[in-house]
């Protein structure tokens, strides 16, 4: 293949995207189609799903089987948990998270969407937006996914009618005007037949926009990380304890924001001590700059007491430091959120306990109205809450930084992750 012969292939851009939408809207079929038409499916994979489709008496090869790999998923014909798939074109490398539409598995959708730069939200052309479409769209906006691509699917079942597409587009725009999205685009497609996925549709001459693949290859993603506010959560302290590195003391971690340089005046939280960065060791040796999401090791001029869960920041730009945190939470457990309940809370590399002080409101995902009279937060509910932690946390608003604005709540009895919190 031509494009792998040069050396440029060692330096490609990575785009992480997720699917979203209601059950049976065609998410998995679309991913299968995208992989198939971009020639990213291997012969043995294709042969396996062909045989499997035949065995189940399906008239055509079911491309959804490429991602629906679990026994239970194949038996029920639905997606239960996120499947990750990978493909590359000469322009980009892609990591796809194909998530389930079924309401019962919303938490798996949140899992897949939490690391995405782009979400493809499917809408069944016959049904228009349903509650689950709205829930997913709202979750995608809460998660701060910068790019949304709305694919109106199954156009083949609606005679590829422009009116249908325009009506759903308008409906979606009306809904989306109530929340924050940076970039939103619409494409009429048929995942089953392949219209506007990789090839331009012959059936919809009225659509002048680009195909889904073209959009994925060209959408601008460079500016999605925070390069302004320096944040370095200390993950692990490296002390070689050998003669050669007797005095070496390095703070390993992943840059969560800003650009860090040797010589920078920094402050270590929570102690508040200030010092300078002596050196930054990257995976290939010393570096002159470090930015998100690099994994590096920082050495400081002075010997300070720094440990996991501490944060290194610039002296003149510190995050919020507080034991009281307000957040939107996606609840992901059948056991309801307890007012005054205690949970373990994890933020960057810092862990503590917290108590839920207040449940301010729940969000009605159909209307995005605040529900103030019913504060029972159960599985799949989205609510605004405030918690008080046992020790101070150093955080930013989620809107400003996804790494320093996110927390998870853990049930201390079962150890399960029960809530995903976005700090506001």
């Amino acid at each position: 293949m031509e494009h792998f012969s040069g050396n440029g292939y060692l330096d490609m851009e990575l785009l992480r995207f997720t699917t979203a939408g209601s059950v049976d809207d065609g998410k998995s079929t679309l991913i299968g189609r995208l992989l198939y038409d971009s020639k990213s499916i291997f012969e043995d994979q294709y042969e396996a799903i062909r045989l499997s489709s035949e065995r189940r008496g399906e008239p055509e090869v079911n491309l959804a089987l490429l991602t629906d790999g679990l026994r239970a998923e194949r038996e029920q014909g639905i997606t239960i948990d996120v499947a990750y798939r990978y493909f590359a074109t000469p322009k980009r490398k892609f990591i796809i998270a194909d998530t389930p539409g079924h309401i019962q598995y919303t938490r798996n959708m949140v899992t897949g969407a939490s690391t995405a730069n782009l979400a493809i939200i499917l809408v069944d052309a016959r049904k228009g937006m349903v509650e689950q479409t709205k829930r997913h769209a709202f979750i995608a906006s809460l998660l701060g996914i910068p790019h949304l691509v709305i694919c109106v699917n199954k156009m083949d079942l609606m005679d590829y009618d422009q009116q249908v597409f325009e009506r759903i587009k308008k409906e979606f725009q009306g809904f989306a005007s109530k929340f924050k999205v940076h970039d939103i685009q619409f494409i009429p497609i048929s995942a089953l037949k392949g219209d506007n996925v990789v090839e331009k549709s012959k059936h919809m001459p009225w659509y002048g926009g680009s195909t889904l693949l073209y959009l994925l290859e060209t959408i601008h993603i460079g500016s999605d990380i925070n390069l302004v506010d320096c944040r370095f959560p200390v993950q692990y302290v490296i002390r070689p304890q050998t003669n050669e590195y007797h005095d070496y003391r390095g703070y390993a971690g992943r840059v969560a924001g800003g650009i860090l340089k040797p010589g920078d005046k920094v402050m270590v939280l929570p102690s508040g001590f200030t010092t300078k960065i002596k050196a930054i060791d990257g995976p290939e040796g010393p570096v002159r700059e470090a930015f998100a999401p690099m994994s590096v090791t920082i050495r400081l001029e002075d010997e300070l007491d720094v440990s996991r869960g501490d944060m290194i920041v610039r002296v003149n730009n510190v995050p919020e430091i507080s034991q009281d945190i307000d957040m939107m939470v996606c609840w992901m457990n059948p056991v309801k959120l307890q007012l005054n309940g205690k949970y373990a809370i994890r933020h960057t590399t810092r862990e503590a306990r917290c108590v839920v002080k207040n449940i301010l409101y729940k969000v009605d995902v159909n209307t995005l109205h605040r529900i103030q009279d019913d504060k029972e937060v159960g599985m799949n509910d989205i609510a605004r809450i405030s918690v008080r932690t046992t020790k101070p946390f150093f955080f930013d608003k989620y809107q400003i930084n996804r790494f320093t604005g996110s927390v998870i709540l853990i049930d201390e009895g079962t150890n399960e992750t029960v809530g995903a919190g976005m700090i506001i």
């Binding site: 851009e13 291997f42 499947a83 996991r308």
Partner: protein
């Protein structure tokens, strides 16, 4: 102007190093599963970077089926010595001798599945609470579903229908006594990424990955290398072929591919042009549609 974008390989590298450090920080007794295959070699390379200039703060664990390629063991021992790492070996033969497992018989016999028992025994014996594995999601459809931090109950079992949510890069490694985690730092790497990274970092690889002459038998499309562990069936014969291995596992089930690729650049071109997945040559996955899921539920790698 300076660009603040990482290339895909450096981004994957950063993600994997983060995950490996997280394991060292969150667990009391982790170990790194080292099989001598390319994924575990890359994982070890990343672990070495993650803690440099200190040594890797946990041992390597090799589950030895007794059916290894001699090249694998030689490579393993050399690398362990070079890194000054600690190596723990769990022998499938010991599990057989103790009556913990019964050896499969017949010409298709493989010790691949038996490894699970040896692995779980080793975890219990050494009290490991987290095992780093080189599994990649692009390898197989059940692996495609697995979390970075994959929880195992006290029987070592995976429950694919009830995985914990895993959000952002906030990994929850909390567990009860007797439970453990499997952690996969290379989750998001593809076979292509692995080879490109090997080239980028100039990592020394076992000779088995490069094309060479070897006697093999073609068994239903799988080319098995000649060894005392493979018994010919009716109508089969050993033939000299020019091959290399895309994956390296137990000799009884690892298939070779006919290949001329003799350098990293040639391997990358071959991978780019390949029309079958690397596991297409693994006899262990061909046993049933959900063979991998079933093995993983029992506690396989």
């Amino acid at each position: 102007m300076q660009s603040y974008n990482l290339s895909h390989l450096r981004e994957l590298e950063a993600e994997s190093m983060f995950v490996i450090r997280e394991v060292a920080a969150q667990f009391e007794k982790p170990a790194l599963l080292f099989s001598g295959g390319k994924d575990s070699i890359v994982m070890l390379h990343l672990a070495n970077k993650a803690f440099s200039p200190a040594k890797i703060p946990f041992p390597l664990l090799h589950i030895d089926t007794g059916h290894n390629f001699p090249e694998t063991l030689e490579y393993r021992d050399k690398l362990v010595k070079k890194l000054g790492a600690r190596l723990v070996v769990g022998y499938v033969q010991d599990s057989i001798d103790k009556g913990r497992v019964v050896e499969e018989t017949g010409p298709q016999a493989s010790r691949n599945r038996l490894q699970t028992v040896t692995l779980l025994d080793a975890i219990e014996e050494h009290g490991f609470d987290a095992l780093l594995g080189g599994g990649r999601r692009d390898e197989e459809k059940a692996r495609a579903k697995e979390r970075f931090f994959s929880h195992r109950d006290e029987f070592g079992q995976w429950d694919p229908k009830n995985q914990r949510p895993e959000l952002w890069n906030l990994f929850n490694g909390r567990k009860k006594m007797g439970e453990h985690f499997r952690v996969f730092p290379l989750s998001n790497w593809t076979e292509m990424d692995v080879w490109q990274y090997v080239l980028l970092e100039n990592i020394d690889m076992p000779s088995l990955y490069f094309s060479h002459d070897r006697e093999c038998v073609n068994r239903k499309g799988t080319l098995l290398a000649r060894s005392e562990y493979i018994k010919l069936m009716d109508g089969e014969k050993w033939e000299k072929m020019h091959i290399r291995f895309r994956t390296i596992g137990d000799m009884s089930c690892t298939g070779a591919t006919v290949s001329q690729a003799n350098s990293l650049e040639e391997i990358i071109q071959e991978v780019a042009a390949s029309r079958v997945t690397e596991r297409g040559s693994r006899a262990d996955d061909k046993r049933s549609e959900t063979a991998m899921e079933d093995r993983k539920k029992e506690g396989y790698f």
